[in-house]
C-alpha cells in the first residue's frame, strides 16, 4: 500500500491521476505518430536544453503537453443505395482526457485520406474527384429528425485521388474548448461524396470482389482522423524569467 501511495504521489506530481493502463501490448497498440517522435527527439537534443520546454515551437503556441487524441466516432452510413459513392462518418474526440487545470492552447484536426492505387493508369485516366464536407454537430439528433438540421458546415472541399495521401488540417481550438464542458461534445460529421453533378451510379467505388473495369472504377479513400491537442499545465510551467 505504501508503495502504491508513493507511486500515486509521484505520478500526481507528473500530472497523472493514476498509472496509465493502456489496452493491449506495446506491439498491438497504435503506432506513435512520426511528428511526435520528431518532437521528442528534438527535445532530447542538447540545444533543446536551453529552449523553453513550455512552448511548442512546431505549432508556435504555449504548451507542455501534446496529445494525439484518436477518433472514436462510428461509421454512420457506408455506400447506401441512394448514393453508392458516399460515406458518412462521425468523428468523436474525447477531450475530457485534459485535466481541468490544463489551459488549451491548440486543437488541430488532421484528416488523412489514402487512396489505394488500383493501378497508376486507372488513377491517372479516371480522375474522379471526391467532395469532402466537414460539419460540427451542435445538438443530439432527435429520432426521426433530419440529422442535417443539427449540423453546421465547417469545411467543404474537393479532393482528387492521388498516389500520395491527402491531408486536411483545420484549427478547431474554440470548438474543442466547448467540448470540455460535460454533455457538450457532439463531435463532428465528415461526408465523402461524388462531386456535384456527377452520377453517383457511374462513380461506383472499387470494392474488393466487384468486377469493375479498372479504368472506370476508383478506390474509396481510407480516412484517418486525429486531433492534435496542445495544452499547458500552469503548475508545471511557471511563467518565470529564466535566470
Amino acid at each position: 500500500e505504501d508503495r502504491n501511495t508513493r507511486e500515486r504521489l509521484f505520478l500526481g506530481s507528473l500530472g497523472l491521476s493514476e498509472r496509465p493502463q493502456p489496452a493491449g501490448s506495446r506491439h498491438t497498440r497504435r503506432p506513435v505518430p512520426s511528428e511526435l517522435w520528431r518532437m521528442f527527439r528534438r527535445s532530447e537534443s542538447i540545444q533543446a536544453r536551453d529552449s523553453d520546454p513550455c512552448t511548442v515551437s512546431e505549432y508556435g503556441v504555449r504548451g507542455n503537453i501534446i496529445r494525439y487524441v484518436q477518433d472514436q466516432g462510428r461509421l454512420v452510413s457506408g455506400w447506401s443505395s441512394s448514393c453508392q459513392a458516399c460515406l458518412v462518418k462521425q468523428l468523436f474526440f474525447n477531450v475530457s482526457v485534459l485535466q481541468p487545470v490544463e489551459l488549451l492552447s491548440l486543437a488541430q484536426l488532421e484528416i488523412r485520406l489514402h487512396w489505394k492505387p488500383l493501378r497508376p493508369a486507372g488513377l491517372l485516366r479516371g480522375p474522379r474527384a471526391v467532395s469532402m464536407s466537414l460539419s460540427k454537430v451542435i445538438r443530439a439528433t432527435l429520432r426521426g429528425a433530419d440529422p442535417r438540421a443539427s449540423r453546421r458546415l465547417l469545411l467543404s472541399q474537393s479532393l482528387r485521388p492521388q498516389l500520395e495521401p491527402a491531408a486536411v488540417a483545420m484549427d478547431l481550438t474554440p470548438l474543442a474548448e466547448s467540448w470540455r464542458k460535460p454533455g457538450h461534445n457532439y463531435g463532428l460529421v465528415v461526408e465523402l461524396s461524388p462531386p456535384p453533378g456527377a452520377d453517383p451510379e457511374e462513380l461506383t467505388p472499387f470494392l474488393p470482389g466487384n468486377a469493375f473495369p479498372l479504368e472506370e472504377a476508383w478506390t474509396l479513400p481510407l480516412m484517418e482522423a486525429s486531433l492534435v491537442v496542445v495544452s499547458l499545465n500552469p503548475h508545471q510551467c511557471r511563467s518565470r524569467q529564466r535566470r
Binding site: 507528473l14 496509465p20 493502456p22 497504435r30 511526435l36 517522435w37 520546454p53 507542455n64 496529445r67 508545471q236
Partner: protein, 114 residues
C-alpha cells in the same frame, strides 16, 4: 533497485548521479520513451571557508562563517540544485492516445550552497 553509481568519498556538496530505469518500477508498458530518468540529486557539506567550486552566494559564505562560530545556533547553508534541465516523456494514456509531455527543471545539472 536503481543502479547506484559509486558516490565519491568526499562529503562536499555536489551532484550525485542516480539513474532510474523505468523497467525497475514496472512503467515500461505505458512509457514509450525515454527508457529511464536521470534522478540526480544534491548532497554534501557546505563547510567554512566556502570554496569557489561550491557556487556559494555571499549570504552562504557569511552563513558558513557564523556556523563555524556558533554551530548549535546557525546551521550550515544547504546543498541544492542551482542548474536544472527539462525532460520529455512520450507515453500512452488510458485512452490509448499518444502523449508527449515536457517537464521543466527535472534533471539536476549542478549543485551549490545556498
Amino acid at each position: 533497485s536503481a543502479v547506484h553509481l559509486p558516490v565519491t568519498p568526499s562529503n562536499i556538496c555536489k551532484a550525485r548521479r542516480l539513474y532510474i530505469d523505468f523497467k525497475d518500477v514496472g512503467w515500461q508498458d505505458w512509457i514509450i520513451a525515454p527508457p529511464g530518468y536521470m534522478a540526480n540529486y544534491c548532497h554534501g557539506e557546505c563547510p567554512f571557508p566556502l570554496s569557489e567550486s561550491l557556487n556559494g552566494t555571499n549570504h552562504a559564505i557569511l552563513q558558513t562563517l557564523v556556523h563555524s562560530l556558533d554551530p548549535q545556533g546557525t546551521p550550515q547553508p544547504c546543498c541544492v540544485p542551482i542548474r536544472l534541465s527539462p525532460i520529455s516523456m512520450l507515453y500512452y494514456d488510458n485512452n490509448d492516445n499518444v502523449v508527449l509531455r515536457h517537464y521543466q527543471d527535472m534533471v539536476v545539472d549542478e549543485c551549490g550552497c545556498r
